[in-house]
C-alpha cells in the first residue's frame, strides 16, 4: 500500500464520514474509472452528434420543400417540449422493445442497440433540437446581401451554406452553442436512469457498497463535472478568440 492510499485509510478511520474508498480499494477504484470513461465517452459522442443534428436540421429548415421544413419543426417541438429524462426512458423501454436482437454468444438474445446506444441517440436528438434553433439564429444573423453576393458568384445553396454562411454563423452562435453543449454534458448523468455505467451510476454503486463514502463520491462528482465543463468553456473561449475576424463587428 502506497503512502497515498495509507493516508486515505487513516482518514476514513479518524473521520468516518470522509471515506475516500475509491482511492485505496481496487474494485471501487475501477468503478470510478469506468464511470469517468463512460461520462467522457457519452459527452463526446452526444456533443458530436447533437451538432450534426443541429446542422442538418438548420440546413433542412432553409429548404424550399415544405415537408422538410415541417419535419424539422415537428422534431424541434417534440424534443424541446418534453423532459429529456422521459425521452430517455421512452427510447430505451418503448422503442427498445421493437429493435431487432442478435445473439453474440449463441445463447442470450441482446438488442442491437444497447442502453449506452439509446442514451447517445436520445440525448443527441434532445440537444440537437436546441442546436437547430441556435444555428438558425446564427444563420439569420448573416445578412441576406452576403448570401446574394455568394449566389451572384455562382455558389449553389450547399456551397454557400458550407463555405460562407456556416463560417459566419458559427462565429455568431458560438456562445449560445457553448451553453447548450455544457448543459448536454451535465444531462448525460440522466443516462443513469437506464443503467448506463456513467459516473453518477458508479458513484451510487460505490455508495451502496460503502455508505460512509457518500461525502467522498459527491465531492468527486462535483469536481469531475466542474473540470469537464471548465475544459469545454475554456476551449470554446479560445476558439472564439482564434476565430475573431479583424475589423469585424460580431
Amino acid at each position: 500500500m502506497t503512502g497515498f492510499e495509507q493516508f486515505f485509510v487513516e482518514l476514513a478511520d479518524t473521520h468516518p464520514k470522509w471515506n475516500f474508498v475509491y482511492f485505496y480499494q481496487d474494485v471501487e477504484r475501477s468503478r470510478i474509472i469506468t464511470g469517468i470513461y463512460y461520462t467522457i465517452g457519452l459527452s463526446i459522442l452526444t456533443v458530436f452528434f447533437s451538432v450534426v443534428v443541429g446542422l442538418v436540421g438548420a440546413w433542412m429548415q432553409g429548404s424550399k420543400n415544405k415537408i422538410a421544413r415541417m419535419t424539422v419543426q415537428g422534431f424541434i417541438q417534440f424534443f424541446r417540449n418534453t423532459p429529456p429524462f422521459v425521452q430517455l426512458l421512452f427510447f430505451y423501454f418503448a422503442l427498445g422493445q421493437f429493435t431487432p436482437t442478435h445473439s453474440p454468444d449463441g445463447w442470450l438474445e441482446v438488442p442491437i442497440i444497447s442502453n449506452f446506444g439509446w442514451a447517445v441517440i436520445s440525448l443527441s436528438l434532445f440537444a440537437g433540437s436546441y442546436n437547430v434553433e441556435i444555428f438558425r439564429s446564427g444563420i439569420e444573423a448573416v445578412p441576406v446581401a452576403t448570401r446574394e453576393a455568394a449566389e451572384s458568384l455562382g455558389y449553389n445553396r450547399f456551397q454557400s451554406f458550407t463555405k460562407i454562411i456556416l463560417p459566419l454563423c458559427f462565429r455568431i452562435c458560438l456562445p449560445s452553442l457553448n451553453n447548450n453543449l455544457i448543459n448536454l454534458v451535465k444531462t448525460t448523468t440522466q443516462a443513469f436512469g437506464i443503467a448506463v455505467p456513467e459516473l453518477l451510476y458508479q458513484c451510487i454503486s460505490v455508495y451502496n457498497d460503502y455508505s460512509t463514502s457518500m461525502n467522498a463520491v459527491m465531492l468527486l462528482m462535483f469536481i469531475v463535472f466542474f473540470l469537464i465543463v471548465g475544459l469545454i468553456a475554456w476551449s470554446s473561449n479560445a476558439l472564439e478568440k482564434k476565430l475573431k475576424i479583424p475589423g469585424y463587428g460580431v
Binding site: 446574394e148 455562382g154 463555405k163 475576424i245 479583424p246
Partner: protein, 249 residues
C-alpha cells in the same frame, strides 16, 4: 442550340414585368445592350432600376417578358444558373464582401470553389486584379480593415475574377463619401476602356454623362426616356425627365 453572335445584343430585355406581391415594380421594360457598350440607368428611388439589373442576374425572378444574356433566356425554370453567373458579374451597393476572408481570398474563393480552377493560376490572376483596382499591399487585409471605397474595389475585382462578359453595378457608390466615389469610378472607367460591357445603376450624373454610351431614365417601373448622353441631358422631352434632371443638375 444557342446561335447568338456578337452582332446581336449581348443583353436583351423585352417587356419585362416584375411584381413583389401586389406591387408591380417593373411594368414592361425593354432595352438592348450591345457588346462593349456602357449603359447607365438613372431615375428616382423606387423606380425599379435596381430590381431590373437584379433580374438580369436571376437574383429576382420575373413574371412576364424575356431577358436574354448572349441569347440565353434567363426567365426559364431550367436555366443553368452557374453558366449565367459566369457570364454576368454583379457588384452591390453594400460591397457584400465575405468578412471572414482576406481581400485576396475574397477574390480567389469563387474561381477555386465554384469553377474548380487551379489555385495557382487563380492567385496570379487575383494579384493582377488587385493591381488593376490599385490596391497593392492590401492583399491580406480583412474587409473590416478596408475603407468603403477599397472594399468596393475589392468587390469589383472579386466579380472580375469570374471573367464575366457583362458587369452589373447596383448603385455601387451610393454608400461612399464623395472622395472615395472617385477612386471607384476610375476603376469602372478603366473597365469600360478595356471594352467590358457594363450596366450601371447610378445617381452620379456627371459620371454617367462622361462614361455612358446610352442613358435610360426610369420612373415608376417604365423607361420614360433614353438616349446618348450628349442629347439626353440637354434635349430631354418628357416632363418627368426634365423635372428629375432639373433637381439634380
Amino acid at each position: 442550340m444557342n446561335t447568338w453572335t456578337e452582332k446581336e445584343p449581348i443583353l436583351s430585355i423585352k417587356d419585362v414585368h416584375k411584381s413583389f406581391g401586389e406591387l408591380e415594380v417593373l411594368k414592361g421594360v425593354t432595352l438592348d445592350v450591345m457588346k462593349g457598350e456602357v449603359i447607365c440607368i438613372i431615375g428616382p428611388s423606387g423606380s425599379g432600376k435596381s430590381t431590373l439589373i437584379r433580374c438580369v442576374n436571376a437574383l429576382n425572378d420575373i413574371q412576364k417578358g424575356s431577358i436574354k444574356v448572349e441569347g440565353v433566356e434567363v426567365n426559364d425554370p431550367k436555366l443553368d444558373k452557374l453558366s449565367l453567373r459566369r457570364k454576368v458579374g454583379m457588384v452591390f451597393q453594400q460591397y457584400n464582401l465575405f468578412p471572414h476572408k482576406t481581400a485576396i481570398e475574397n477574390i480567389m474563393m469563387a474561381p477555386i470553389q465554384v469553377l474548380k480552377q487551379d489555385p495557382k493560376n487563380v492567385e496570379d490572376r487575383a494579384h493582377t486584379l488587385i493591381k488593376k483596382v490599385r490596391l497593392q499591399g492590401k492583399e491580406n487585409s480583412f474587409p473590416g480593415e478596408l475603407s468603403g471605397g477599397q472594399q468596393q474595389r475589392i468587390a469589383i475585382a472579386r466579380s472580375l475574377a469570374m471573367e464575366p462578359n457583362i458587369m452589373l453595378f447596383d448603385e455601387i457608390t451610393a454608400a461612399l463619401d464623395p472622395e472615395t466615389v472617385k477612386e471607384v469610378l476610375v476603376t469602372i472607367k478603366d473597365l469600360a476602356h478595356d471594352g467590358m460591357t457594363c450596366c450601371l445603376v447610378t445617381h452620379e450624373m456627371g459620371f454617367a454623362k462622361e462614361i455612358a454610351d446610352h442613358i435610360y431614365f426610369t420612373d415608376r417601373g417604365v423607361i420614360v426616356e433614353h438616349g446618348p448622353p450628349k442629347t439626353f441631358f440637354t434635349e430631354a422631352k418628357d416632363p418627368r425627365t426634365k423635372e428629375f434632371l432639373s433637381q439634380i443638375l
